[in-house]
Symmetry: C2
Subunit: 205 residues, 2 copies
């Protein structure tokens, strides 16, 4: 779980950064505000204040609030993809399950960001669709690999595995999203319990 730099660090890094890097720092500051205080707290003025610059200076690096949110979403999907990939590769957990656990952990660590990523009305633009596709792909890949290793066979194996991974992700998203929003109280089941059952549904052990 990568962590975000503090406000002081950001201001320090700011002065000796080039244009491209500064844009990235702006996004980092916004993500930090988002994580710690929710979406309503991510205002242009506050982000600027965090960086020790005037509000209008932000517009030198970001076209406006919409673009800032898009950038946060992109960053979120990058973190998610990267995390799932390495959690299931290097993790001490049993292979692919690390990826799934990371997914849940991500949604809990950045609940507002996770919301933004999956609830923001998505333009049908190919680019945006691709960002999200790439963000979720590593998780789907891990699950598919696992299923093949598990011994799934047949003529239309490709299709079968593909669809099963899709079902798994949909359910995992449901769990992550409800847990992040504190909505599991309605059931008398713990989140860990639900996750374990979900994991076993792919590969019962």
């Amino acid at each position: 779980m990568a962590s975000l730099p503090s406000s002081k660090r950001l201001q320090a890094r700011w002065r000796q950064a080039n244009h491209q890097q500064r844009r990235q720092i702006v996004v980092s500051a916004a993500l930090d505000l988002l994580r710690r205080h929710g979406l309503k707290a991510v205002t242009m003025r506050r982000v600027a204040h965090r960086l020790g610059i005037g509000a209008m200076t932000l517009y030198t690096y970001i076209r406006g609030q919409d673009e800032l949110r898009q950038a946060m979403i992109r960053e979120g999907f990058n973190m998610l993809a990267q995390g799932c990939r390495s959690a299931s590769t290097l993790g001490s957990d049993q292979g692919w399950r690390g990826g799934a656990r990371y997914y849940i952990q991500f949604a809990l660590t950045y609940p507002s960001l996770y919301d933004l990523m999956f609830r923001t009305p998505l333009s049908t633009s190919d680019a945006d669709q691709q960002i999200m596709r790439d963000g979720v792909q590593p998780l789907l890949d891990r699950v598919r690999e696992q299923m093949v290793l598990q011994g799934t066979t047949g003529p239309d194996l490709e299709q079968k595995v593909h669809r099963a991974a899709g079902r798994f992700w949909v359910a995992l998203h449901g769990l992550a999203s409800l847990q992040a929003a504190n909505r599991l109280e309605a059931l008398d089941m713990s989140a860990d319990e639900l996750l374990d059952e979900l994991l076993h549904s792919v590969s019962p052990t």
Copy 2:
């Protein structure tokens, strides 16, 4: 699927309504705006304008924006509970499946409202928790009944059925939520396909 009254109708009803009814009309107007133009469009001023009254007059019937949103959420859960109940009782569909289909249909018809209902940070207040519990209960009940009819048995039947219904709802929410946010493009699976598989997982036919 109950539909919402138009703006003109609302203004007409307004004048000959008592205090309690007027509060309900305010909420209806807000829900209409929410459905047709998204959350950002639900401003106090706009709601008031729809009703042909001054902005501040709204505050005679609703404490403020927070309370307005809470009221919309409550109304949403009421619709959901009512709909699931009657869809699975009276529906031409095979019993309980109507409830699940209604659930999906609801999320697609009122995507912004569905988001509000399940993403708004929920106070741990007993009342709020109860609202949502009641909203989802009918669906869970239908699924449990179905499982019992289906022939599930055992000493801890109660527990088993309870947990299975919970799993079902979590997955259903994942599907509804992704579909409502146009996020299923990342998979090459249709929403109907996913729903059917979900339904079969409870009672294969």
